[in-house]
Assembly symmetry: C3
Homo-oligomer: 370 residues x 3
C-alpha cells in the first residue's frame, strides 16, 4: 500500500480516535533492555516501562529477568546476592529461582508462602541485545522480533552504542522516521538530500517504511568522504523500516547511477532500537554494520565517536528540549502542525496506538506476570 | 476615595468572593519581560506567565516577542538561528517572521501549512524595559502602561537592577505596599518611620496608593547619610502607587519642615515592577532616579550595591520562605491575620482579583494569541 | 493474650478494613522531636508530622514549641529573634509569647488582633528527649508517655544517636519488630538467632510485644565479644515492646543457662523512637543503656560508632530503597506477602490503624491547636 504523504498526514488527524490511552505501553512486545555483553553472573538493575527489573545469567549462562522488588517487603533484589542462579533478598534473605519462585525462607519453620513469587520476564538474546517480553508470558513469540540479523554477519563490520535520556520513546522514533532534521540538527553531516529527496511512506501490515531516494546525486559530504566517493554522482537510498514499539532499521544503499538497492556496492545498515525507561525517558540502542573498509579499525573508531556524539550531543538534547516544551501534555493534545515529511512518523504512531488500543480492549483470559 | 486602613482590612475579608481563580493571570495587561538593553539581534529566551517566549530585534531594531515553541514539533525556537529578522527552528528548519508566520518550509514541496504560526506578543519599549501584552493583541493599548517616565529625565541620575526568585508576584507586591517590614528586615536602613508614620491608603479607579508621612522628623539614618542631612529635622513622605498586575512607583520626598511633596528639595523615585515567571516565582525589576548628588558616580555604585543586596539578600529570601511556608496553598486559603498596615496590599490584591475575575467572565469575541 | 504468629499474619489481612486513611497521623500522642540537649535559648526549627515547628527555652528554661509560621504573612518564626522568652517575627516584627499569643504589634496603633496566635504544642522533657503532643492540647497526658526510664538510671551507662532519612515511620518500626533481618542486613553482627529463635508475639491493650528466645545457645559473635562471653552457652532473650505511634523498647537479656530475664546478669536496654518528619521521611532517635563494663569509655565510643553505622549505613539505606520501590503507593496497596516473622510488625500496624481510625471518627468537641 502506497500513500501520498500529505494525505497520510491529513488522515492521521482524522483518526485521532485510534489513539491509545496516554501513558499506556504496548505490553505484548519485545523490548531491548541491555546489550548481551552487559549481563553476566551478577545482579544488573535496569528500569524499562516504569518497571524496575534485575537481570543476571543463571548457571547455564541463560539470561534471567525478574521484577526487582521482593514481594515480602519490597526491597530491591539487585542489592542482594546471586549464588548458583538463585537470588537472595538483601533484607530478610528470601531466595528466588530464575522463574521467580521463592525457594527458601530462612525464618521460623521455613514455610514457603505460595504468593511469594516475583514476576519473571521471558528473555531472549538476539542481535547483540537482550530482549524482554513485557506482556503475557504465554504469548511471547520469538518470531515477533524485528530482523536485525546483519549485525551477526561476519562479512560486515559492526559498531554499537547506547544513549539514555529524557524524552518519550515516540519522540526518538519520530526523529528517525523523518530524517529531514539532519540538515538542521546535524550540520556536520550536511545532508540536504534528506530534506529534498523523493520520499515514500509505505505500510505493510504493521510495518511502516519511510524512504528517501536520491538518484544521480552526490552523497552528503561526510558520507562521501567515509566511503571515499567524494565528487561522484551516484544513486542512493535511505530506507527506514519501523516496527512497534520503536524498533527501526535504517539502511543507506549507494550504487552507481542506474543501479539499485539490491545491487548496491556500498551500504550501511543501522538499527535504532528505542525502549521506554519511563513515559518521559528512553534507552536508545544503536548499531551500524558496513560492507566497505571492513578491516579499517581506525574508521570504526571514528564512526563510533561520530555517532555517539550525534546521538548524545545533537539528537538527545533536542528531544529533551521537546519533552520539556511539551510540559507534561500529550503529543496530540498540543495540536502539532503536521508537514508532509511527518507522514512516516505519524503512520508509525497510528499503528502503535491501534496496537495498544487493541491490547487494552482485548480480554485475553491470560494474566500478565504482574 | 479615602479609607481608614482598618476598615479596608475588614472590608477585604468581607469581599473574598471577589477573589479571582487561583493561579489565573491578568492577561490583558503589560508585563515587563526584560531590560531593553538585554535584547539585541540574537535570540533571547525568557519565561513569563508560565509561557516560554523568545525575544529579538528585527532588521529595524524593533523588539519582537514570539512563543518559544515551534508549532510543528515543539522545539524551542531560541536554540535556532536568527537571520534578517527571520527565526529558523533548530530542528527541522521552519522559518518564522516577526509576526510569527511561517515563511519558509524547506521540506518537500515547501508548502506552508496555514496553521504553522507561533503566537506573537505586542511589545513596546518604555522606561528602559521591554513590555509585552499577554492577552488579546487587538486590545493592546500603550496608554495603559504605568508612568515611570522619570527614568528618562536627563536631570536625574538613574540606576537599576533585577532579581529573579521563588515567590508569587503578589508576595513581592505586598512587600512594597507595606514598608513596615523595613525596620525588621532591612535593619541596616533602620527606618522605624515606616512602622510608626501616619499611613494613608487611597484608591483612584484601579490605582491604589499606600503612603506614609513623617513630619518634623529625622530621616532614617542611612537615608540621611546618603542625602547629607544627618541630624536635621525634616518633613518627608513615602508614596507608593500601585497598578495592576504588580507595577509600583515608590517615591521618597524630603523637604524642609513645613514644605510639601510638590516643593521637595530631595527625592528618590523608584519603580518596583514585578512580573510572574510562574505562579511561584517572579522577576523583579527595579530602578532608582534621584535629584541630588547627580554627578556622584561613586554614590551611584554604592546605591546600586546596597539595593541589589537588600532585594536579593533580605527581601527575596524572606519571600522565598513565605512561599515555601504556604506549602502550595493560596494566600486566602491560609486565613492570614490582617493588620491595619496591610490595607494597601489587600486593596491592591482586591483590585487585581476583580480585574482577573472580570476578564475571565468576559466574552470578548476576540481570541488570545495562543 | 498470646497468638501464634501465622494466625496473626492471616488475621491482619482479614482486617484490612481497620486500616486508617493513608497519610493520616495519630494526633493525640506524644512524639519525640529533639534531644533535650539540642534545645537552648535560641530558635530551633524542626518539622514533624509535616508541620514546621520552632522550639526554644523560655526564661525559666522550659521548652516551648510553636508553629513555625507567623499567622500574619507566614514568615518562618525561627528566622526571627528570641528575647526574654518572646519570639519576634523576622518580617514585620509581631511578637509572640510561649503560649503563642501575640503580645506586641509594632505597627500603627499597636492593636493586637485577636486571631493573631500561633499554635503552641504541649511539650515535656523525658528520657533525654523533648516530646510534643500533636493533637488536642487539653488531652495531653504525661502518663501516656512510654517508659524508657532506664536511660536515667545512674547505675547504667547510656549512649544515644539520631538518624534522619527517607522512609515512612512504620517501615522503620517494622524493621525493629522483626529482627530477622539482622542476619542479612547486619552481617557484621552475625545473628542467626533472630532468624531461628522461638518467637512470641503478644498484645496487652495497645502494647505489642515481639520477642525472641534462645536458650542454651551461644550469643551472636559480636554480642559475645562485647560482653566478654565468647564461646559460652547461655540463655538469652530479645524483647521488643511497641507503643503507638512508633516507640519501641528493645532489651537483650543474657543469663546463665537456666536463668531468666528477671535475673539476667547482662542486659542492654535500647529505645528506638521513630517520629514522622513527613509521610515519607522520619527521625529515628535511639539510646542504649547497659549494665556491664559501665566505666569503659572506650567501649561506649565503639558501641556508639557501631550503632551509628548500623542504623545510618545498613538500616536506613534499605528503608530508603523500600520507600522508593513502593513508588508512592501504600503498604497494603502493594499486597505484601506476609511471613510468620511479620506477625509483630503487622500487629503493631493494626493497633496504630485502629487508633487513627478511632481518632478520625471521634467527635471530641475540642479543637486541635491548628
Amino acid at each position: 500500500m502506497n500513500v501520498l504523504a500529505p494525505a497520510a498526514a491529513r488522515a492521521s488527524l482524522q483518526q485521532r480516535r485510534d489513539e491509545a490511552p496516554r501513558g499506556a505501553y504496548l505490553k505484548n512486545a519485545w523490548y531491548a533492555i541491555a546489550w548481551s555483553d552487559e549481563i553476566g553472573r551478577s545482579l544488573f538493575p535496569r528500569t524499562i516501562l516504569d518497571t524496575p527489573i534485575v537481570l543476571f545469567r543463571d548457571t547455564e549462562d541463560r539470561v534471567v529477568a525478574l521484577r526487582d522488588r521482593c514481594p515480602h517487603r519490597f526491597a530491591p533484589l539487585h542489592r542482594g546476592t546471586l549464588s548458583g542462579g538463585i537470588v537472595q533478598c538483601p533484607y530478610h534473605g528470601l531466595q528466588f529461582d530464575s522463574a521467580g519462585r521463592c525457594v527458601h525462607n530462612p525464618h521460623g519453620s521455613g514455610v514457603l508462602p505460595k504468593a511469594a513469587t516475583v514476576p519473571a520476564y521471558p528473555a531472549v538474546e538476539r542481535f547483540m541485545l537482550v530482549w524482554l517480553w513485557m506482556g503475557v508470558p504465554e504469548l511471547a513469540d520469538e518470531s515477533k522480533l524485528p530482523d536485525f540479523s546483519y549485525v551477526d554477519d561476519p562479512a560486515l563490520t559492526t559498531i554499537k552504542g547506547m544513549v539514555q535520556g529524557a524524552g518519550h520513546y515516540e519522540l526518538y522514533a519520530d526523529n528517525i522516521m523523518d530524517l529531514g532534521h539532519a540538515q538542521f540538527l546535524h550540520t556536520g553531516l550536511g545532508a540536504p538530500a534528506f530534506t529534498k529527496g523523493a520520499r515514500e511512506v509505505r505500510q505493510e501490515g504493521e510495518t511502516v517504511w519511510s524512504n528517501v531516494a536520491s538518484l544521480n546525486e552526490e552523497l552528503a559530504p561526510l558520507h562521501a568522504a567515509i566511503k571515499q566517493l567524494v565528487g561522484r554522482r551516484l544513486d542512493w537510498w535511505v530506507d527506514v523500516r519501523w516496527n512497534a514499539p520503536a524498533n527501526m532499521d535504517l539502511t543507506l544503499y549507494v550504487d552507481e547511477v542506474g543501479g539499485s538497492r539490491q545491487t548496491a556496492k556500498w551500504f550501511d545498515r543501522n538499527f535504532h532500537v528505542i525502549t521506554p525507561q519511563t513515559t518521559t525517558s528512553s534507552f536508545y540502542f544503536w548499531a551500524l554494520s558496513r560492507n566497505y573498509r571492513v578491516n579499517d579499525t581506525e574508521l570504526s573508531l571514528q564512526l563510533k565517536a561520530g555517532l555517539d556524539a550525534a546521538f548524545a550531543d545533537e539528537d538527545k538534547p533536542m528531544i529533551v528540549a521537546q519533552q520539556a516544551a511539551m510540559g507534561g501534555e500529550g503529543f496530540w493534545d498540543l495540536h502539532p502542525v503536521l508537514l508532509p515529511c511527518d507522514a512516516g512518523a505519524i503512520r508509525a504512531r497510528r499503528v502503535l496506538a491501534k496496537l495498544i488500543a487493541a491490547e487494552t480492549q482485548e480480554a485475553t483470559g491470560l494474566a500478565s506476570p504482574e
